[in-house]
């Protein structure tokens, strides 16, 4: 007889829940703890910034690290995707015999979606993982405790500068990402036989500043999530080297999931007011 068909009583007399329900409850619990921690980190960071407690030197150092860390990988990914994307669109357009949408197709997709999302994922993998691993190592080697004993708040010294650096640098990176995607698309479409002037004209006639700003708003949101998630996973690290490994992996996984899910909602929220222009 299985547990599902006949709930049994355990030693303490509680009714045993089916395994699925238990793991669902655990998941909800974990998610709530995660949201709670991240909100708290966010509020504390904001407060530290507002009170002028965050050192400019810490922030600048993080901005440099974050930018240098991820520029290469972001450019590589978006340039490659831009080429392939342009290749397919050009191919389709040439089949139909109308190439007037190639440039705007690539640019529209990149500014609104591919730049922020690909950039955000690359950022999570590169910067988010590095943050989680660094802070996680500090947690398991008692460096966070050491900070506390010196009356230095880990949020003020570690979290606030990292989250802010992410928020400043990711939109900048995404500007480069957009540029890399659209430019590589320009060359690939050209190689396929779409005239450069057609590509550019298409962009001029269909693309609006709001496409860029919508993408940058997404970038800010993704940066906030990557920054908070990776710091939180780092701070909560327990259990030595393997704990650091788990923190790093989970940080990347959570960031990627959050990026794609929130992208759905963000897209609807941002384009809702100005669809069918």
């Amino acid at each position: 007889m299985t547990e599902q068909t006949a709930p049994q009583l355990n030693d303490t007399g509680e009714r045993r829940l089916p395994a699925a329900a238990v793991s669902l409850m655990r998941l909800v619990q974990t998610a709530l703890a995660f949201i709670g921690d991240c909100s708290l980190l966010f509020l504390q960071s904001v407060r530290d910034f507002a009170a002028g407690r965050v050192r400019l030197a810490d922030l600048v150092q993080q901005m440099a690290l974050v930018g240098v860390d991820s520029l290469g990988i972001v450019l590589l990914i978006t340039a490659a995707t831009g080429s392939v994307f342009a290749y397919y669109i050009a191919n389709l357009s040439l089949t139909v015999g109308y190439t007037g949408f190639v440039g705007s197709g690539v640019a529209y997709a990149f500014l609104n979606e591919l730049g922020p999302v690909l950039g955000g994922v690359a950022f999570a993998a590169r910067v988010g993982a590095a943050i989680a691993a660094e802070i996680g190592t500090m947690a398991v080697t008692e460096q966070l405790d050491a900070l506390r004993t010196m009356s230095v708040s880990p949020v003020q010294y570690l979290v606030a500068p990292r989250v802010m650096a992410a928020i400043i640098m990711l939109p900048l990176l995404i500007l480069f990402a957009d540029l890399a995607g659209v430019t590589s698309g320009y060359f690939f479409a050209g190689m396929m036989g779409v005239p450069h002037s057609t590509y550019m004209n298409s962009i001029y006639s269909f693309i609006q500043p709001i496409d860029l700003t919508d993408g940058l708003i997404k970038a800010v949101w993704f940066a906030l999530m990557v920054g908070l998630t990776s710091c939180r996973q780092g701070i909560r690290t327990e259990g030595g080297a393997s704990g650091v490994g788990r923190a790093t992996t989970s940080s990347v996984v959570i960031c990627v999931v959050l990026i794609f899910i929130s992208d759905l909602f963000l897209t609807r929220m941002l384009t809702g007011p100005h669809l069918h222009r």
Binding site: T141, E142, Q143, T149, M150, S151, V152
Partner: protein, 255 residues
């Protein structure tokens, strides 16, 4: 007034009782040594005194203030007058030794570069390290050197309370002796109240004003060195004899 009062302290984690009814009292400028087997809860007790861990129940009163009642912010403020030397040094590994030593200090007040240089030089000398070490990264140092940098870092802030977690374990006898003397000097010069976790019985009896012995989270005894020596408690005697026993064993094996 007692500088540190620990009253019926209990700490539980995951249903396990790590500390069970610890009570202590320490006057200003005294050194308390905490001894006890590995896993008996010494580090946990220190971390609780400095407010890194919150007790399950009981009271810790530092300088007349109950740290249990404090908010995180008030604790931060109170910790400005406390320092801790961690069992495994816990240096910030992204910073050089120099920056590690003055990190806490420079976070809380502005200082001239020349004064900072002088201070670092002086502190390194005190913990028996050479000057060039200042430019090295923690990862380039041996465990014993890291520990002494941790000690220098704690001293830099000139706290009135110092918690040392095995400051001399892993050090050679000569350096250990020097560190013992440093602990006493620090107490004498600044009336620092110190709690030292240590396994070295000879050094414990040399430096301590009071001694406490933990056994599986409970306190077997606490008192002056004389009281501890005179105790009839078998656990206490066994602990105190351990040194001699191993020595006699070794000698008899040799013969």
């Amino acid at each position: 007034m007692s500088a540190i009062v620990v009253d019926n302290l209990v700490f539980e984690v995951g249903g396990r009782r790590i500390l069970d009814g610890i009570s202590l009292e320490l006057e200003t400028g005294q050194i308390l040594s905490v001894m006890g087997g590995s896993g008996s809860g010494k580090t946990t007790l220190l971390k609780m005194m400095i407010g890194l861990l919150r007790p399950t129940s009981g009271r810790i009163v530092i300088d007349g203030e109950d740290t249990m009642q404090m908010s995180e912010k008030e604790l931060d403020q109170a910790r400005l007058k406390m320092g801790m030397v961690f069992q495994y040094a816990a240096l910030l590994d992204s910073l050089s030794v120099y920056d590690n030593i003055v990190f806490g200090l420079l976070r809380h007040k502005k200082m001239e570069r020349a004064a900072v240089d002088k201070l670092v030089k002086h502190l390194l000398e005190q913990v028996q390290l050479e000057e060039y070490v200042a430019r090295q990264m923690p990862a380039e140092l041996s465990g014993g050197m890291q520990k002494r940098v941790g000690l220098a870092r704690a001293l830099a802030m000139q706290p009135s309370f110092l918690f040392y977690d095995e400051p001399t374990s892993g050090l050679d006898p000569v350096t250990s002796l020097a560190i013992d003397q440093l602990i006493m000097q620090t107490r004498d010069a600044f009336q620092v109240t110190s709690v030292v976790v240590s396994h070295q019985i000879s050094s414990v009896f040399r430096i301590s004003d009071r001694i406490a012995l933990l056994h599986k989270g409970k306190m077997c005894i606490s008192g002056t060195p004389e009281e501890v020596k005179a105790s009839a408690d078998p656990d206490v005697q066994q602990f105190l004899q351990a040194d001699n026993i191993t020595l006699t064993h070794l000698q008899s094996e040799k013969n």
